[in-house]
């Protein structure tokens, strides 16, 4: 009985159910095209492609948990990627660590701007970041013009980082080689572990949940509401900056529209992963798993023979489905909690 309960509970966890969908998707797609999973490149793409989205979704999730949203992450990411690229134009052999420090720092600064505007203007984050989404992009276009930063402009260490594998293929069955661990994937996992640990185990992390759960109560309670909301935007900016740096390393080609539309992917990933858009609930792991699923769906649908016209619609349906599911679960949960109370 106890054991069964444990499994039932496990499956009911949003992270686990999304992961199950992910595994099912991979299995089905692999059945159609075995190299999707059973090949060096297929395996690598499966792990590497979501890395940037995962990092982006983590920061976005932090902001959504505080009952706000950051629409500017795509622009922040593009601007930071351009900044890192420009730095390489001037210092060809800049160490990758410094490039990351630059990207994260610049992203955090842009998040700081968002947080400050939200705090000062006392306008919902959605409106402010809608504005900064255009402003950051505008600065990017002004700065970059029609120029392009090419792979030759980047240092070799940095470019290699974007495509290298920390562990080479170690599963070798006949012709099939797989099992590598791309470096960017490891970076994303590290960010995930740190962020998840922070949001779960540190006071301010829990306070971010609290202000998203009931802002008025947080004020009466004496939680520093504005500081916390500010913190969430800075975290989100920093992860977006990091994602921009990862983007630069991975593709080594940057133009002024880099990162365009990524904000919607980030929000979609968080929502699919169970981060409630009304704030206060959801986990970082959920957002990361959501990003994993979203990226993989985009890769799998063409293989499954779905016309590319329909791919966006599927993603959209998934997002709406996730939100409807959240509503249904939330109202069911609320009824159950009330019923439990009545029974006791």
């Amino acid at each position: 009985m106890e054991k069964q309960n444990f499994f039932v509970r496990l499956i009911k966890q949003r992270e686990v159910s999304i992961l199950i969908v992910f595994v099912a998707l991979v299995i089905v797609t692999t059945m159609v095209q075995p190299t999707f999973f059973f090949s060096s490149d297929g395996w690598r793409a499966l792990l590497l492609d979501p890395a940037i989205y995962v990092v982006l979704a983590i920061g976005e999730a932090v902001v959504i948990i505080t009952k706000s949203v950051d629409l500017s992450v795509g622009s922040t990411m593009g601007l930071c990627a351009w900044a890192v690229g420009t730095a390489y134009l001037n210092w060809h052999d800049m160490p990758p660590a410094l490039a990351f420090a630059l990207g994260i720092g610049f992203g955090a600064f842009l998040g700081f701007v968002n947080g400050a505007l939200v705090g000062i203007a006392k306008v919902p984050g959605m409106v402010i970041t809608l504005g900064t989404m255009y402003i950051f992009r505008g600065i990017d276009i002004l700065w970059a013009g029609s120029a392009r930063i090419n792979p030759k402009d980047f240092g070799d260490d940095f470019k290699n980082l974007g495509n290298s594998r920390l562990i080479p293929d170690w599963i070798i069955v006949g012709d099939v080689k797989m099992g590598s661990l791309p470096t960017l994937t490891l970076i994303a996992v590290i960010v995930l572990v740190i962020a998840a640990w922070y949001m779960r185990n540190i006071r301010t992390g829990r306070a971010l949940y609290a202000i998203g759960s009931a802002p008025q109560a947080a004020e009466l309670y004496g939680l520093p509401y504005r500081k916390l909301s500010f913190l969430a935007f800075v975290i989100c900016g920093a992860t977006a900056g990091m994602a921009g740096t990862m983007f630069a390393a991975r593709y080594a080609t940057i133009i002024s529209t880099a990162g365009n539309g990524y904000e919607m992917q980030a929000i979609g990933a968080a929502v699919i992963g169970g981060v409630a858009i009304v704030g206060g609930s959801g986990t970082i792991l959920g957002a990361a798993v959501g990003a994993l699923l979203l990226t993989t769906i985009n890769a799998a649908l063409p293989i499954l023979g779905l016309p590319s016209l329909w791919q966006k619609a599927v993603v959209g349906a998934l997002i709406i489905g996730a939100i409807v599911l959240d509503r249904v679960l939330a109202s069911r949960n609320e009824r159950r909690l009330v019923a439990e109370r009545m029974a006791s």
Binding site: R206, Y209, A217, G222, L223, L337, R341, S344
Partner: protein
């Protein structure tokens, strides 16, 4: 009480713009004592509490905590000093667990600032045991009853080792058993030497729990006495403290035909068997405690809320249920309780707000001109003496009293047969208040039927020709102007059946005059 007071407020005031929320508040809380604070709605009790909590900052006066002057700038500061407040509104985070709610912001941590979940949980288990409640520490607080939410608030206060615990109307939504449980805990805390303050409008609770009582009226301190040296009658007199009727001039009127008739209106769980009528030229009061179902009845009559059976008739013609447009067309005007949310479009100009209900009649060749709108609005703004520089100013720029006049103007412009007013003078300064009363009285004299819901007992007694009193969704008394006294209305408001035997202790409750928001 030879000890020094834990907390002292002397002559503290607080203003919001031109409105004085607290003129002069004073109170002293002693360790090992439960101190009651009572007063009418608007007496300044909640403001006083919020000043102690650090939510508001006082404009003047002294604030001493443990003998030293303090100046709390946030609730975090007062909490750190050892003051815990249980507000009327719950301050829990519904998505987080009971345990997290108790410890939010000051969770026990071990190495690397990591929250020590097991230690935290163990302490909550202990607290719940001590409080004698079986609350699951891991469940989210969403869906908990008010009583359980308060227990969590108290658990917070204990774990904080608060020296002062303030409870702002904690029993308003509790059942008898839950009240007993709360009181047992309160006495326990008192015996541990903490200072407690208890705001309530239920005299029997004040007398059974507290040892000292402070009365406030109109933002001023009135008196502090030991409970054993006073009685209900004395406290009521101090609370009201004025000749009730003189303030509210109701003109005598000729009562005409029946305008509104309500028969057997039912809405399960909200109200039941509502029978009432309002005649032309009459002001009828609808009184009762908060949650008695008064506003719900009014909303059902106007067609906003549903009802399962029963009938509403206006001038002998039945009105369809759930159809406010039909109610308006038939001649009902409805001034809701919450004018900011429901009565006005705050961002719109005053003129637009006034002409809201008569839009249709202003249309000429398919358009409404600015000129036609302002001309129509001008008449009523003038009639009601709305104080504004321009009719083009936004409604939100007006004071509360003037906003209420605009809502009134909006409905009067449509020339209704029946006007339903929910809390006509809430949050309005005294001067404008009597103006609104004078206007209502005038309207009744001109033959309008008025149904007035009011939580302010003096207003009901002063203005109404007849009073219906509701208790838990039912009308428990219909009182004529002569029969309606504070005692008779409050008795009917707190008992399911009338009449009041002389020997029964009358529960004069301040809820009549208080809803908290």
């Amino acid at each position: 009480m030879s000890q020094a007071p834990t907390l002292q407020l002397r002559d503290v005031s607080k203003h919001f713009g031109q409105v004085t929320a607290l003129a002069s508040g004073s109170i002293e809380l002693y360790p090992g004592s439960i101190h009651a604070l009572i007063g009418e709605n608007g007496a300044g009790k909640s403001t006083l509490v919020k000043i102690i909590a650090g939510l508001y900052h006082r404009d003047s006066g002294e604030f001493l905590f443990e003998g030293k002057p303090v100046d709390f700038k946030s609730t975090a500061e007062s909490k750190a000093a050892g003051i815990a407040v249980i507000y009327q509104e719950p301050t829990l985070f519904p998505d987080l667990s009971v345990t997290e709610n108790v410890f939010m912001g000051r969770q026990p941590v071990n190495r690397f600032f990591r929250i020590n979940r097991s230690a935290m949980r163990a302490e909550v288990v202990q607290l719940m045991e001590r409080l004698g409640v079986g609350l699951d520490p891991d469940r989210p607080t969403r869906g908990l009853s008010i009583a359980d939410q308060q227990i969590i608030e108290i658990a917070k206060a204990i774990s904080l080792d608060a020296k002062v615990l303030i409870m702002d109307e904690p029993t308003a939504a509790l059942s008898g058993v839950e009240v007993e449980r709360l009181f047992a805990v309160a006495r326990q805390l008192r015996d541990e030497g903490r200072a407690l303050m208890f705001i309530s409008h239920r005299f029997n609770e004040v007398f059974s729990l507290c040892d000292t009582v402070t009365v406030m009226r109109d933002g001023n301190y009135v008196s502090t006495v030991a409970i054993k040296d006073t009685n209900e009658h004395q406290l009521v007199t101090q609370m009201v403290g004025r000749e009730v009727t003189s303030l509210f001039p109701k003109l005598d009127t000729e009562v005409g035909e029946t305008v509104l008739e309500v028969h057997g209106l039912n809405s399960p769980g909200v109200f039941a068997d509502i029978d009432l009528h309002v005649d032309a030229g009459e002001i009828v009061g609808l009184s009762g405690l908060v949650g008695a179902g008064r506003s719900e009845v009014a909303r059902a009559i106007f067609g906003v809320d549903p009802y399962t059976d029963g009938q509403v008739q206006l001038l002998g013609k039945p009105l369809p249920a759930r159809n406010p447009a039909a109610a308006m067309a038939a001649g009902i005007g409805f001034v809701p309780e919450d004018r900011r949310q429901q009565g006005l479009v705050m961002q719109n100009p005053i003129a637009t707000n006034i002409t809201d209900a008569i839009r249709g009649s202003l249309v000429k060749r398919g358009v409404i001109t600015h000129k036609a709108e302002n001309a129509a609005a001008q008449i009523w703004a003038h009639n009601l003496e709305v104080k504004t520089a321009s009719l083009d100013a936004k409604a939100e720029t007006l004071s509360g009293g003037n906003q209420q006049k605009v809502v009134l103007a909006k409905w009067l412009a449509s020339n209704p047969k029946l006007l339903i007013i929910d809390e006509p003078t809430r949050g309005i300064d005294v001067g404008t208040k009597s103006e609104v009363h004078r206007r209502m009285s005038q309207l009744a004299k001109e033959g309008m039927a008025i149904l007035m819901i009011s939580s302010e007992l003096p207003e009901v007694l002063g203005m109404a020709d007849r009073v219906y009193v509701m208790h838990e969704g039912r009308i428990t008394a219909e009182l004529s102007r002569d029969e309606a006294t504070p005692e008779s209305v409050m008795y009917a408001a707190t008992h399911s059946s009338v009449p009041a035997p002389a020997a029964v202790e009358i529960e004069v409750t301040e809820t009549i005059v208080e809803t908290g928001k």
